[in-house]
């Protein structure tokens, strides 16, 4: 119980407590953070944050993307949208996925920047759908 984890959205401070380990969906692969981790700043893709207490997963929280700051004693997650896994709505995820794919098709004509943004959105929406699958 040594790593202090904070999950913050612009609307409120969602969670602030000590945990044993947290696995965050970093942009380039899931990342487990324990106490004493070297300081890092990473971007997050859409996915599930798993909070470990002891050897079991105590909580799972879905984020649609954001940033995380890791220092030796704390891990701060900044995310625009944060939902407990139980509140993730599959239909909503599928709707967003469809919208994001449409946006991608439109963006592929425009240029790389819009395309990249659309890809990120697709990825986040897909993670939302997958999160409900369990």
């Amino acid at each position: 119980m040594a790593l202090s984890l904070e999950i913050v959205s612009p609307e409120k401070l969602l969670l602030s407590r000590a945990v044993d380990m947290v696995v965050i969906p970093a942009a380039e692969g899931d990342m487990g953070v324990l106490e004493g981790h070297s300081p890092m700043i990473v971007t997050l893709r859409g996915g599930t944050i798993a909070i470990y207490e002891g050897d079991r997963v105590a909580d799972q929280i879905f984020v649609s993307g954001g940033f995380a700051e890791v220092t030796t004693e704390r891990c701060t997650v900044l995310a625009t949208e944060v939902l407990p896994i139980a509140d993730v709505n599959r239909a909503e995820g599928e709707k967003r996925l469809a919208a994001a794919e449409a946006a991608y098709d439109a963006a592929s004509k425009e240029g790389t920047e819009a395309e990249d943004a659309a890809l990120v959105a697709i990825q986040a929406a897909r993670a939302m759908v997958e999160a409900t699958a369990g």
Binding site: L13, M40, T43, F67, T71
Partner: protein
Amino acid sequence: MPSLKALRTRIASVKSTQKITSAMKMVAASKLRRAQQQAEAARPYAVRMERMVAALSASVAGSPSAPQLLIGTGQDKVHLLIAVTADRGLAGAFNTNIGRATRLAARKLEAEGKTVKILTVGRKGRDYLRRELSSRMLDGISYAGKKRLEFSDAEEVANRVTAMLSAGEIDVATLIYNRFKSVIAQEVTEQQLIPAPPPPQTDTAETGAAYDFEPDEETILARLLPQALAIGIYTALLESAAGEHGARMAAMDNATRNAGDMIKRLTQNYNRARQANITRELIEIISGAEAL
């Protein structure tokens, strides 16, 4: 001396005005509480975001490829002023202060030979500035009829600013809003958004920790900065909303008190007139009786 009937209607009318102002004061007080809570809730995110931006910008400082949102376009020609006001009036000098500050800032910049563009957030600012500076104004944004400010509202403003910057339409962006100092005091604040002001020199022990970045700094910054801009605007919008309710509460408190004073004075006049009438009638009766 107005007639008794005129005084009576006058008193009744002031009384009903007083009821309205005191109701508005109560409404403003409860909205103020909610707005304050919301502003309070947004603070942790803003604080942490600032910390991350400080760490990142320290590591890309001086590099020519640093994103525009951080260092600007390198020019100082076209200024964007974002004036944040309320959508409703009856809040004392709340909206006028912002209008005046924006007007003065625009005049000052123009005297220096710069081009000014104005983006208003809130209906009252648009109405105020339209008279004089309409040629410099962009389409305003208004949240009239919205119950609660959401983060996405601030993102909308931020996206417009970012789009204008990358299209090369603006060089510098400044936010002018009412900072919530206390329930009765708001402070007109000018906050430069682009280029981002250099972070205050904090003790390097905290920020000096060398971070690893994944992916690289610039990719993170490119995603982080629009977010940081949005949260900056979001905080300002919330502060302004809290300030608006505070200002309205103070203004309505004053109005209620003034109405009370007025009712007292009118009632006194009314009683005096009534008594004078009675005395006059008595005199008429007595002198009539004596004349017989």
